[in-house]
């Protein structure tokens, strides 16, 4: 299976563990990927607030570059995933946007013909590989590890392409295929505040602490995320949240790290050392040993 791969800026920075573990998962499942040549920043939510039209053009450059290979494009970062999808939708719906973007791409010698499908890794793993295949390749079963599956906003709203908008289960299914047990998590799609923790710290902390509190209350031993910013927000401010509200100490991992672990990758291959709340004690408690 071959795909184009668009990491996005965060996966080279705070989200490094996401990329490392995801690539490990792809290797283990023989998913062949090719990084989009000279990809640029998609603009994320920030550029969208500055200048929408320019934001679409930025995203479209990547779509045009990816289109060349006639394969689906995997975009792991939730914000990139949303922006790329949104760009496609709006270009189809609004002729004026299509016109502006087409001309802009033309100015740099690119054409976009709306041929590429933007996919999330959860989608690819669930629907192209399948739970059965993954379960069969598990080398380190997760032995009932209690995981709170946190989807966040951007991969389920506003475009529900591969999972239910209000009760998504794709991540749950994949984690359970590896032997983990997902706990009830009513806040699984509630916003973590995004960049608000940096710009309006009090607001950001408020949103973050509910997510942590509820995960702990439901007995989660680890929170599994799909977005670099969510992962950073949830793991970095647990002490601050504890001082102001409810104390928590829950490791926050990318779903791909848990998957990679189960598929037998080594801990440094999957960036476990990059987390701020160590997972080792939890794994030891469950007698989950690395491959």
């Amino acid at each position: 299976m071959k795909y184009a791969y668009y990491p996005g800026c965060s996966l080279r920075g705070t989200g490094r563990a996401y990329e490392e573990s995801l690539l490990a998962v792809f290797r283990a499942l023989e998913i062949d990927i090719e990084e989009v040549d000279d990809w640029n920043c998609c603009g994320a939510t920030t550029y969208m607030s500055v200048d929408e039209l320019m934001s679409y053009a930025l995203a479209a450059r990547n779509l045009a570059l990816a289109e060349r290979n006639h394969v689906d494009l995997i975009a792991p970062c939730a914000a990139c995933y949303l922006v790329l999808n949104k760009t496609q939708h709006y270009m189809r719906e609004y002729p004026s946007i299509q016109l502006v973007v087409t001309r802009a791409l033309d100015a740099i010698g690119l054409r976009y013909r709306d041929l590429v499908k933007v996919r999330h890794p959860l989608d690819v793993l669930l629907n192209d590989v399948g739970v059965a295949t993954i379960a069969a390749r598990v080398k380190v079963p997760l032995k009932g590890l209690k995981v709170a599956p946190y989807y966040g906003c951007q991969i389920v709203r506003p475009y529900a392409t591969f999972d239910d908008q209000r009760e998504p289960t794709s991540m749950d299914q994949l984690l359970e295929a590896c032997g983990a047990k997902t706990v009830r998590y009513p806040l699984k799609t509630r916003c973590c505040g995004g960049s608000q923790k940096g710009t309006l710290p009090e607001v950001g902390l408020d949103l973050i602490h509910y997510l942590l509190m509820e995960a702990q209350r439901n007995g989660a031993e680890v929170i599994s995320t799909v977005c670099p910013l969510c992962q950073f927000n949830l793991e970095s401010f647990q002490k601050e949240a504890g001082d102001r509200h409810h104390p928590t100490s829950v490791p926050v991992l990318y779903f791909s790290q848990l998957l990679a672990l189960a598929l037998g990758a080594a801990p440094d291959e999957i960036g476990l050392q990059r987390g701020f709340v160590p997972i080792e004690p939890v794994l030891a408690g469950r007698e989950i040993a690395y491959a």
Binding site: E167, P186, L187, Y210
Partner: protein, 664 residues
């Protein structure tokens, strides 16, 4: 008075319609122009042709000038064609020797240029004059009407319609799908705005139906085939086996007590699954007919054939239980049909953010009606699933309604019943009650006053569409509660209200099989799925299919008074149809010229009214004039041109076209 070989003597009448036509069209010029057309003997213009003096003009001219054809240039024929036809009739001229020209809706109301408009009317009148010469005299056909009536659906609307007709001396067949009549109303506890006990006002009517000599009540039955046309419907009805002989069962219910199941194990449909029933059961204590029914899917005797059959033992000498009963079929003939098949409630699983099915203490309004009802699953105690009384209850309006994601319409009754439930819940439990609404819709008689009464009772009214019902606690006081999050729009901030019980005011929808039913009876549905009335303002209970009427919630969401009113209206219209004793059919029908029909059968499947049959012996198509509505589809489709239509002969149409094209 006329004959086909006589040359046409045409009278042309141009109406001013006040300034409606005369304001844009030069009626003087038009009348003069018409007067010099070939075969036109007299041409006049008048202020209001449809008035008595206007019509008198036509009648006098027919007599004085020996006219044998008439053209009236005025408004739409939909409005006054019958008027002018009657005028011709009074002057002893066949009414169909008239052609109307629409120079109002088609000219003066849509054009601004007076010169161009007048030119257009000249073209149209010229065409009509040429056409009308070819008109042939036609007769309306009369068909006799069977005086019996079929009422489908035994809810309050069906019951009321049936009783009405029965009292009027008509024989009524009332067919109901469930083992008992009563519909949704039988499940309610009290009704708004009077807080009358629903069963108390319904059961006398149900009993009357059961005992009325003019009503044949068939429950646990379905209509399976409908053939025929207005006044002459042939209906096939299938009766599901109860495995209990209705003639012999006296409803003592000893069999139920004696059943080998010591307690019920099957979710009770009448109590919406809140309690369990045995395989042999009576739907509810006041069921009509008061006959027991056996559910073959859960009865041991049907599953294994090895039951002790204590029910038969308990029945004793009455011998009413019969496990060998089979489905039976009845064929009846009726003249009119009233559909009163009711509604279903919105399924709240479609809105997962309200937690129905996930949180046990989220109920639908219908479920709560059963809890409140003294003969319900909890004996009238409003309790949570664990038996405790709630100390706070949230009632959420507009579930599934007024929402582009589910149903766009307002279900009309939910605000009122939510107020009613608020009152009853408070009365039964003394809990804090919160009603979350968007608008308070209380338009009926006594409804706003009912709202006034509620305002005194201390119910919290929060205006805000609820965003979610969840159990995550943002505050220690919320632990173990269901939290309703909504913006209190009147106050201007978001509120989190912890409650023990949530009641979802589910909206009304068409029945799940509404499309199948409407196809069976050959009527239309609106886009939302409600049965379509002939006119939203002026003909709410009749349909476009003559002889089929609709009443109650199947036509659109409505409360009991409106359902009853519609039922009475439908009964009256059915009665009026039947008492006319015959039906006059418009003669615009098509007929097959047998000599020219090649027997290709292309026309047969095209007819939307199934009026064309293929006569195998003659190998020719034959059109039933009584079913034919004159849509013209078969006429156009026939490859050999052997179907002709009254009033729309090829020659008539070609003359009209030539008339338009031959502009002066």
């Amino acid at each position: 008075m006329y004959s086909d070989c006589e040359s046409p003597r045409i009278g042309v009448y141009v109406c001013h319609c006040g300034t409606n036509i005369a304001g844009t069209v030069d009626v003087q010029e038009l009348a003069e122009y018409a007067g010099q057309l070939p075969n036109v003997v007299v041409s006049r213009e008048y202020k209001y042709m449809c008035s008595d003096p206007g019509q008198a003009l036509i009648e006098e001219d027919i007599t004085d000038h020996n006219l044998n054809r008439v053209v009236v240039a005025s408004c739409s024929p939909l409005l006054h064609e019958p008027t002018f036809r009657r005028a011709l009739g009074r002057a002893d001229l066949n009414p169909f020797l008239l052609q109307m020209v629409n120079i109002r809706e088609h000219v003066s109301w849509v054009h601004l240029d007076k010169q161009a408009a007048t030119r257009k009317t000249k073209d149209l009148v010229r065409a009509a004059v040429r056409r009308v010469s070819l008109h042939k005299p036609l007769e309306k056909r009369r068909v006799e009407i069977n005086p019996n009536v079929l009422v489908v659906g035994g809810g309050i609307a069906g019951i009321h319609a049936a009783l009405n007709l029965a009292e009027g001396g008509k024989k009524v067949y009332l067919v109901e799908r469930e083992p008992t009549i009563g519909g949704h109303m039988a499940m309610f506890d009290k009704t708004f705005p009077t807080l009358d006990c629903a069963a108390c006002i319904l059961t006398p009517k149900m009993t009357s139906v059961g005992s009325h000599p003019n009503i044949k009540l068939w429950t646990y039955s379905d209509v399976t085939k409908v053939d025929g046309y207005v006044g002459n419907y042939k209906i096939q009805i299938k009766h599901k086996p109860r495995y209990v002989n209705e003639e012999l069962c006296i409803g003592c219910q000893e069999c139920i007590t004696a059943c080998v199941y010591k307690e019920g194990k099957t979710p009770d449909e009448f109590n919406l699954g809140l309690s369990k029933r045995k395989p042999i059961y009576l739907p509810f204590p006041q069921a009509v007919p008061q006959k027991v029914v056996i559910d073959r899917d859960t009865c041991i005797e049907f599953k294994s054939g090895k039951c002790r059959k204590t029910c038969i033992e308990a029945c004793g000498e009455r011998l009413a239980i019969d496990f060998n009963q089979t489905e039976t079929i009845d064929e009846i003939e009726v003249g009119a049909i009233i559909l009163a098949t009711g509604f279903k409630t919105f399924s709240p699983e479609r809105n997962p953010h309200y937690g129905y099915g996930r949180y046990p203490n989220v109920y639908t309004s219908m479920e709560v009606e059963r809890l409140i009802n003294a003969s319900g699953p909890t004996g009238g105690e409003v309790v949570l699933r664990d038996g405790k009384h709630p100390s706070a209850v949230g009632i959420i309006h507009c579930i599934g309604s007024r929402d582009a994601n589910t149903n766009r319409w307002c279900s009309k009754v939910c605000c009122m019943y939510s107020l009613k439930l608020a009152h009853l819940i408070k009365e039964h439990t003394g809990a804090e009650v919160f009603n979350f609404y968007i608008d308070m819709r209380t338009p009926g008689k006594g409804y706003e006053e009912f709202y006034d009464r509620l305002l005194d009772e201390g119910v919290h009214f929060v205006r805000g569409r609820v965003a979610e019902v969840s159990d995550w606690a943002a505050h220690p006081s919320e632990e173990g509660k269901l939290v309703i999050r909504a913006e209190d729009t009147l106050a201007g901030f978001v509120r989190r209200v912890p409650v023990d019980m949530v009641v979802l005011a589910v909206g009304l929808e068409p029945q799940a099989d509404a499309q199948n039913v409407r196809r069976l009876f050959n009527i239309s549905c609106s886009t939302e799925g409600w049965f379509l009335e002939r006119h939203p303002k002026l003909a709410p209970v009749s349909t476009f299919t003559e002889g089929v009427y609709i009443a109650g919630a199947c036509q659109g969401p409505k409360d009991i008074p409106d359902s009853v009113a519609q039922a009475g209206a439908a009964a009256a219209e059915a009665q009026s149809l039947i008492d006319a004793r015959f039906v006059e059919l418009e003669p615009y029908t098509a007929s097959v010229l047998e000599e020219e029909c090649s027997g290709c059968k292309s026309c047969v499947p095209l007819c939307p009214y199934q009026a064309i049959a293929y006569a195998i012996d003659k190998q020719k198509a034959h059109i039933n004039e009584v079913l034919c509505k004159g849509c013209g589809t078969c006429v156009a489709a026939c490859p050999s041109g052997s179907i002709r239509q009254n009033f729309f002969d090829d020659e008539e149409i070609f003359e009209e076209i030539e008339g338009v094209l031959a502009y002066a």
